[in-house]
Amino acid sequence: MTVSTLEAGERGAAHAPPGARARARPWLYLSPLVVALLVWVYGPLVFTAVLSFMSWNLTDTHLSWLGTANYARLVDGRDFPRAARNTLVFAAVLLPFATVVPMSLAIALWKRPGRVSSVYRALLFLPVVLAPVAMAITWQFLLDPLSGLVNVITGRLGLGTHNWLGDPATALYAVGFITAAKVVALNVLLFGASLASLDRGLLEAAALDGATEWEITRHLVLPHLRRTIVLLGMLSLVVVWPWIFANVAVLTQGGPDGATDNVYYRLFTYAFTFFDAGTASAAAVFITTALAVVLGIGLLLTGRRRRDFA
């Protein structure tokens, strides 16, 4: 099917008169994608940017110009700065689970290939395919302060019980670790894929050079994974928020006392609890800008050459 279309296209191009029509032809083929992008991505992006300077309740036909008042409210208020701080804490909690932890697991699995390691790898990946809300509800049962399995076990062990999700001091970390399980699962797989491209002959060469297991990891495996570490660290910080969002929405709704609130949940609250499209849009612009900065730093990091051991 594809082939015949292609051939038809080429034949058509061959007969087409030179000039404007020939130059327009690629755009014709690109148009479905360009239209889709304009309608679903760039259009809303621009619309959001415009909305962030206006006041709108999502249902009214009346929109009024506010200037930078939405931004001022975000910055001066109590909720958004707290949500921004929490977001950074979430990122800090999750970063090791996106990089160091799955990388160590992946290296351990890769160094001892075999049936057991394949089965273990498959089990590790399981959390990724589970429905986010179903998983969140399961954790709600597990962490229930009275009858949850976690508290039953800590109680039996004499460690006492704790309302992990109800205590402002622990709620963020509880949600963070629940999300981390999924991030680890996905990234073990991705680190494993990167390791598969490392030539095992290099390890034999290093063994003959007298390198210890740790030195092989340090001087051969880690340099090989360097780009993957930065990439996955960055990607995880971008893609992890829908998962955190689902967990927060199901388990804490941003509480207790705003302890698990973050910029994404805040945006959702502005837009669909308060129906304040202007403030929500300002928050969205803020988030997008911040992410662009993070990605830019990441690109600089991967582009820079690092000397091997000096």
Binding site: D199, E204, A205, A207, L208, D209, G210, H224, F309
Partner: protein, 448 residues
């Protein structure tokens, strides 16, 4: 087979023995080529394998009751793919563990030692250079690690850079020191792989088909470079290859392997001129040795086969007992000389067997046979030229035997000698001292 090690050690040339020659300070004691034989008499073999066996599942990959590689030799291990030569090399390096048996390097049992502690360096087939390290870092990786592991015995930073500079100069890598492997050509990578191996002056240098990924022109140069390098370093070098030309041209010692076993060991000339069995005979040499089935007749000095007749000189003392019946007659294509063919002279055939009571030969043999006239010894083969291949410095003529069931054979015509046309009758004479006899049942050589 068990005394092969001693046999090989003894082949070291005693005329160059010089007991007073002090080993160079920077090479292992037994390494200098000049006092190689002196060292070889006193010191144990460079490498000894005893009773080494390795299986992959039910497939026996390697079975070596005993193999000794003389210290300071350039030993080439050759065999078809899957013959166990690479497995053997990896067992010596410590990258594989043998199921049974011991590995000794310079008399020290290293069977259970990790690869890095054996004093062995290996040049990999694909060179296995560390992709993110510069040429310099690749080369000094080992020395730096050693310096870290043991600050007292390890080299200082200055010593390391002197050594690296030496090796780079030796292999022409000085200008490439800051490059990454991916910025190098195949030949340059090969030299970096070599530099990385020799920079720590290993007692044993192993090379796993190091030339197979180079193109033909580079390979010729690299071959000469390796031989020269061995002369300079004087350590024990083991090179694994499937290329019989490399095997014959490079080594001072040859190990031919087949099916996980050692088929023959010895100096290349000896292995080439006196192959121990039909495998070695046909594996080494291009085109391979011709083999014909023949029946001894009369006193055993006269052999007849399809399109072949032979008269052997008086039974050599070395050969005990009669020849097996039938017997395999072998000769190398380059050892045969074309003789004029006289189609009208049937006498050529009748002189073959003075003893006409001999059992009837395969159809056509007496008529077309033609034998060494009178008392002249040797083999005469008759056939029809089928394929004529010009090879530059000669021509290879592949012939179909004149007689039914005689099969095919080839003869090399040197230089600008006259070459038979396709379809022409060909008669080839091989002198008796160039004829090899094998037992067809086990393929072993029978003429001593």
């Amino acid at each position: 087979m068990t005394d092969l090690g001693r046999e090989m050690t003894d082949t070291a040339d005693p005329t160059t023995a010089s007991p007073t020659a002090a080993p160079r300070a920077d090479v292992p004691p037994q390494a200098s080529r000049r006092d190689r034989s002196a060292a070889a008499e006193a010191a144990p073999d460079g490498i000894t394998l005893t009773g080494v066996e390795k299986r992959y599942g039910s497939h026996p990959a390697l079975d070596v009751p005993h193999l000794g590689v003389p210290a300071g030799s350039f030993t080439v291990v050759v065999g078809p793919s899957g013959c166990g030569k690479s497995t053997g090399l990896r067992i010596i390096a410590g990258l594989e563990t043998a199921d049974r048996g011991r590995v000794l390097l310079g008399g020290v049992d290293v069977t259970d030692a990790p690869p890095g502690e054996r004093g062995v360096a290996l040049v990999f087939q694909d060179f296995a250079l560390y992709p993110h390290m510069t040429v310099e870092r690749n080369i000094d990786f080992n020395l730096r690690l050693a310096a870290r592991h043991d600050r007292r015995s390890g080299l200082s930073r200055a010593e390391i850079s002197t050594r690296v500079a030496e090796v780079c100069a030796m292999l022409g890598l000085t200008d490439l020191r800051r490059r990454l492997p991916r910025q190098l050509s195949g030949g340059e990578r090969q030299r970096v792989g070599l530099a990385r191996a020799i920079v720590r002056r290993p007692a044993v240098l192993l090379l796993d088909e190091p030339l197979s990924s180079l193109d033909a022109l580079l390979r010729q140069r690299a071959r000469a470079e390796l031989v020269r390098l061995h002369r300079e370093l004087g350590n024990t070098v083991v090179l694994v290859t499937h290329d019989q030309l490399e095997a014959l041209s490079m080594g001072t010692n040859l190990v031919v392997m087949n099916g996980g076993r050692v088929a023959q060991t010895g100096p290349p000339e000896q292995v080439y001129h006196r192959p121990a069995d039909t495998f070695v005979a046909t594996f080494l040499g291009s085109p391979p040795m011709n083999l014909h089935t023949a029946e001894p007749t009369g006193d055993g000095r006269v052999l007849t086969g399809a399109g072949l007749s032979a008269r052997l000189p008086a039974t050599p003392a070395a050969r005990s007992g009669p020849l097996p019946t039938p017997v395999l007659v072998g000769w190398r294509p380059a050892d045969g000389t074309l003789e004029p063919v006289n189609e009208d002279d049937p006498a050529a055939g009748s002189t073959v067997t003075p003893n006409s009571a001999a059992p009837p030969c395969p159809a056509g043999a007496p008529a077309s046979g033609g034998a060494p006239a009178g008392d002249e010894t040797g083999v005469v083969v008759r056939g029809v030229a089928d394929v004529v291949e010009f090879t530059g410095d000669g021509t290879v003529v592949t012939c179909v035997s004149a007689a039914e069931g005689g099969g095919q054979w080839a003869v090399s015509v040197r230089g600008r000698d006259r070459v038979p046309a396709v379809g022409a009758a060909v008669r080839v004479h091989v002198p008796a001292d160039r004829v090899h006899l094998f037992d067809p049942t086990d393929g072993r050589r029978v003429d001593g």
